[in-house]
Symmetry: D2
Subunit: 220 residues, 4 copies
């Protein structure tokens, strides 16, 4: 009954035809559950995935620019036109300056795009909440890719992030990431007050990604 | 008889449906002349433009990464799979670190992608040539978007860039950019030893882009 | 009765022997008033200015690193050892990633250094306040170096920034910058709830910097 | 009979009073040999180390800016005025854009500062040589801090870097770095055509830095 956003990163398994196949497996699972499941593929795949899938597709990043004389940048207006639902912003692998996060979140409101601002601890979660994005996704850097679920290893981080974020902006929804792949860890995250999880390798790099996702949402 | 690469930048006129329409106009002109005319759209459009056009499509940028745990990055392998011919690298609006330019040029050779390294003066042109890319595109920053053609304002920069680049790597091809929109400036660039030109606003922001390109290549 | 921090930037007039002379003029004025007047010189001058002056000296920037294998970086521990009182953080000319601002503010608390986080609007001011620094300094980018005082042109920005910041972290002190050089603008800033001002060119680039500062604090 | 430049990095042992003590130990060794031995401390220490030492002092980094409205940056003119001999440029821990390396090397020539451009392989060494700096310092990234000397592990990299650099700019001097701490490795580097070595942890983090340096230059 939660939110699951899967970041395909620049994983070979998440790009191009393989990525589309993976995305369709995700769509299959999404159609069987009440959880909100969405994906974030590489920019090159965004348009195609939007066209070929019924689930929501997010960008992994947007740049803090308008239309104009910029080379090699994509902006909020562009991902909107292409049909993206929103974007990850300030992912740990694509950190942004504070003023740029603010610029993007603001633009997203205007365009009715969903903003998912990634943070690394309770304090930056509170700071991000002050910008009033739709979601904040807390990922303790020491747990990213560790296989150790944040909801088990540091439940107080999840709990206190939710509290800190809602104190600043009550409407915000909090996701947690880092190390989550089992159903019980997902459930624990929800119990701790999170709306859901932000995943990557746990699904994309799994031997059987579809089975991994089914396991996560409790279908197995 | 030269090379014309048109950078669509993040111009509103060069993106999405408008961008595709513009790209088809470019294709029409390309079919009427012997010049090699190619375009460089935004990453979100790359795949679609490749599919719908017969002219070569370049990326505006690639990141210096392999496949893996990177968010919001695109690499050489990806643009290859999507069908791009190559990419602009180190554009003045997307400058890269020296080690990253080298990484990308190297990867492009392996993948048989065409590398177009942008530079800002004669010395950086020589430096870029030492990395042995296919093209180096010299754009004096003071002339970018000025409407003053480099081939007229600073012919010695074009001439000496060609000389400097070929001294270091004889097989290299040199483009020049900045301010070129008229046929005579294009011809002058070729006369000065350049293989062609790198354009942007001169075509994309023209009132009638097709007419502007026809004028440039001497059809009007 | 307010706070005046003067950023010497990389102005020729604010560096080396000229900078020291300027700093001594600032010190003279500081000794005549109750306002808290401090300066922020270039890193190369930090140690010397601390040694030769009785007023507080701030760094213009610190990097978000510990001691270790970093080249060309300065950290919080270093400026502490050298005798700096604190540092500007995230100045508009040296913007930082959100996670790095948080790292630095946190380290400053541990080392009892004074943190002055610069922001560009009300929302980023609230976000910075969530990190609980000593000061937040709001500088609307469109007014920087304009000669138009923020306290006159956009009084509501000052007022609302103070409100937004204190809502998030009541102990915070708010400075405002951009365009302030006259006494009445300084007084207005204080009346609007700011603790003081962050200045640069208004003093450093003035024909007579000492007179400019005296004017600002109401000695003329 | 070679060149030894010691990068003090942001090592605790290389900063402040400890750093000065270390620098004086280096000076002692320098006075006993014909080798040219110089150091590169953190910017905060630059002025003081220049004043208190007879050996040449280099900056670890400079920014590609002139005097002006820049915060938290140091430029070539500043380190010249402070008495630095030159600077490391583009160190692997402080990589720069190609156009910025060019800007700095150019400015250094005008100011008669010694430029030491760091590179990571043979191709980037050739590219850097095209900018005509005084020195290029090649450090294969995989060997940095490894304890494995480049002159032993990859002698052909040293040899071919020297060749590649001198082909492009015959007057250039080549240093090599990464893993060098023993006299025989230093001698091998010179035999392979390098003018000397760029060191850091091998001396600064040694239990007895003075003994380590004496060993390196063959005094033990």
């Amino acid at each position: 009954m939660g939110v699951v956003i899967i970041n395909f990163k620049a994983y070979k398994e998440g790009f191009g035809l393989k990525g589309l196949e993976l995305a369709k497996a995700v769509e299959d699972v999404a159609n069987k559950v009440d959880d909100y499941i969405a994906i974030a593929p590489i920019s090159l795949d965004l348009q195609r995935f939007v066209n070929e899938l019924s689930i929501d597709v997010y960008s992994q990043h947007v740049d803090a620019v308008n239309f104009g004389s910029y080379t090699g940048r994509i902006n909020a207006e562009m991902i909107k036109e292409v049909g993206a639902k929103g974007s990850l912003i300030n992912h740990s692998e694509r950190r942004l300056k504070l003023a740029d996060i603010d610029f993007i979140v603001d633009k997203f409101k205007e365009l009715e795009l969903v903003s998912v601002v990634c943070t690394n601890n309770i304090t930056t979660t509170a700071a991000a909440a002050a910008l009033q994005p739709d979601y904040v996704a807390i990922e303790p850097p020491e747990l990213i890719g560790s296989g150790i679920p944040v909801s088990k290893a540091e439940p107080e981080i999840v709990e206190n992030s939710v509290k800190a974020a809602k104190d600043v902006y009550p409407e915000i929804k909090v996701l947690c990431g880092a190390g989550i792949s089992k159903h019980e860890d997902y459930v624990t995250a929800l119990d701790l007050g999170a709306e859901g999880v932000l995943l990557a390798s746990g699904v994309v790099k799994a031997k059987d990604p579809k089975a991994a996702l089914e396991e996560l949402v409790g279908l197995r």
